[in-house]
């Protein structure tokens, strides 16, 4: 087994949805998507983003785009102009997702390029 970062098998984008943010994670390959579906459980994401997300997390699957969409509840310290956070719109939450680490078989294809 080897340890990989999510950014070696996926890319992401995030933004705000009222008092929540959403992070779309898109996998480079179908194989990566199938693995991601198993690994990126709501519980696992909640634990990774514990210092950002105060509310509920919902996951939606988009097999057509090899993508998972996460709604990150109460992650902005209030919505829009109410927020005191430096990142009041969750623009950086996708990049935070990409820092997740996983154990995968040694021969699992993963991009070496760093972000």
């Amino acid at each position: 087994m080897k340890t990989i970062k999510l950014y070696q098998i996926a890319h992401a984008r995030s933004g705000d949805k009222g008092p929540n943010s959403n992070a779309g994670v898109v996998f480079y390959t179908k194989e990566g998507y199938e693995l991601g579906k198993k690994l990126l459980t709501v519980e696992r994401v909640k634990s990774h983003l514990a210092s950002i997300v105060k509310g509920e997390i919902i996951r939606y699957d988009l097999p057509n785009l090899w993508a998972l969409n996460f709604i990150l509840g109460d992650s902005l310290g209030g919505g829009g102009s109410e927020s005191l956070q430096n990142d009041a719109q969750g623009k950086t939450h996708g990049q935070a997702m990409l820092l997740m680490e996983f154990e995968v078989p040694d021969d699992f294809p993963a991009d070496d390029v760093g972000i």
């Binding site: 959403n22 514990a50 950002i52 939606y60 988009l62 785009l65 969409n69 102009s81 623009k91 990409l98």
Partner: protein, 451 residues
């Protein structure tokens, strides 16, 4: 009927590049230029401008832009659709007429789409049955009713199409959905009807992909190191056919990149439930589409499933919610992070001893943990860190007092602190956002074309 229509988006948000729309009309073929000038807080600012001056309350940037590009628009017969009308589209039209006269153009047709602004009709609408409870958390409207600064309905694409049907070269709307700016001209060109759900869904999807400007042409793109010529990034162009099949591209020779990865990221941007993307025109199922790479900088979509629109419009209200302020200091040298933590402690303690407490406060360390908390460990060696302190409170005086407590610590705290060039942080009004729904039957949109 044309067999291909090109729609470019030159403005993704209030404050986007002022040159991007100029490049779009000058650097390649285009039939329509769409422009988004409204953020959620913009409407309240525009309502205030209109209160002070009945000829204000729209996006001035748009009038300046038309002054720059009108000769090209006329020469190439490019039509423009913008939500620049804000809360006073008739006044924006007057300003445009003046620009047209200056350029010697006397037959410029301007379409005005109205009916979105319901600020002065709230009482009437409540009497007629509108509830306006917060659609995010179910809180009752009574909580904010006396603090409302603006109230607008997100209207759809059909009134825009109607303005184009009546011959408008420039369509000025207020609050319409962002994808409607692109869908309007498609409905006009191809005669799509309200029950052609799959076609409306394709048009809405195309508008959704391009609504944030360069975010589908290489902006905010994960593999940023692969993007050529960011400085000259091209803004997006939709090439769409009468059956709704479309390609997302950009003008030849411009910077940036259009590929499946970037378009996929943008499809998910600000997305909720992807099976039910609700617009006033149609409900789109984003899990039913396939993206096709069509050669360099071209991504195509042939199908996406649409369903009948809901009986509601979304309402966006803004209301006064107190004050906030943020102040920053840069802390450098040995033990920079420890010093920054000490500085924060000192400032909060001084405010406490002076008798101040706040509804909410926040302490952030930019460069260490402000965006991602403790996801990554704190580095062992830190050269410098920016301390950012913020408060929020309903009492202006308290927030103002906070602003006076930042600078003194530079001479009365640990060494190596700088970066206070901006002066005392000022208390800013918080304009909060209240989303609600309203029965479509209670809203009447209107279209007028003036010359």
């Amino acid at each position: 009927m044309k067999n291909l229509v090109r729609i470019g988006n030159g403005q993704g948000f209030w404050g986007d590049s002022i040159d991007a729309p100029v490049r779009l009309v000058e650097d390649g073929p285009l039939d329509y230029l769409t422009l988004d000038y409204l953020a959620e807080v913009t409407m309240s600012i525009m309502q205030r401008q209109k209160e002070k001056n009945p000829k204000a309350g729209y996006a001035r940037d748009f009038v300046e832009l038309i002054d720059r590009i009108l000769p090209t628009l006329i020469k190439k017969n490019i039509k423009v659709i913008a939500n620049a009308g804000g809360v006073n589209a008739p006044a924006a039209a007057e300003a445009l007429k003046e620009v047209a006269r200056k350029h010697g153009v006397h037959d410029l047709k301007i379409g005005i789409v109205e009916g979105d602004d319901i600020l002065n009709r709230i009482d009437v609408l409540v009497t007629a049955g509108a509830i306006f409870e917060n659609m995010e958390n179910g809180e009752p409207f009574a909580q904010i009713r006396d603090r409302i600064k603006s109230a607008n309905v997100y209207i759809g694409a059909f009134p825009i199409a109607e303005a184009l049907n009546q011959g408008a070269q420039i369509v000025l709307a207020g609050r319409v959905t962002d994808p409607a700016l692109a869908l309007g001209p498609m409905i006009h060109e191809f005669g799509w009807t309200e029950n052609e759900y799959d076609k409306l869904a394709l048009g809405t999807l195309a508008g959704h992909i391009t609504e944030c400007g360069a975010q589908c042409t290489g902006g905010n793109y994960s593999r940023w190191w692969e993007v050529p010529d960011y400085a000259g990034i091209g803004y997006p162009v939709i090439e769409i056919q009468p059956d709704g099949k479309f390609v997302i591209t950009k003008h030849a020779g411009t910077g940036g990149i259009v590929n499946r990865m970037g378009v996929s990221e943008q499809i998910l941007y600000e997305m909720g439930d992807p099976k039910h993307y609700i617009s006033p025109d149609v409900v789109v199922d984003f899990t039913s589409l396939n993206l096709r790479d069509e050669g360099q900088n071209r991504v195509g979509v042939d199908f996406v499933k649409g369903a009948e629109a809901t009986p509601f419009y979304k309402v966006s209200m803004s209301y006064f919610a107190g004050y906030k302020a943020s102040g920053q200091l840069t802390v450098s040298g040995p033990k920079a992070y420890e010093k920054a933590q000490k500085v924060a402690e000192i400032i909060w303690e001084r405010l406490k001893r002076a008798g101040y407490s706040f509804e909410d406060t926040r302490t952030e360390y930019l460069g260490i943990s402000s965006c991602h908390g403790d996801i990554r460990p704190v580095p062992e060696q830190i050269n410098e860190v920016v301390l950012r302190l913020s408060v929020r409170d309903g009492d202006y005086k308290k927030v103002d007092r906070f602003g006076k407590e930042i600078a003194p610590v530079i001479t009365s705290g640990p060494p190596g602190i700088t970066g206070f060039a901006g002066g005392r942080p000022k208390a800013q009004e918080i304009i909060a956002y209240w989303p609600a729904l309203i029965d479509k039957n209670l809203i009447k949109t209107s279209v007028t074309v003036v010359e």
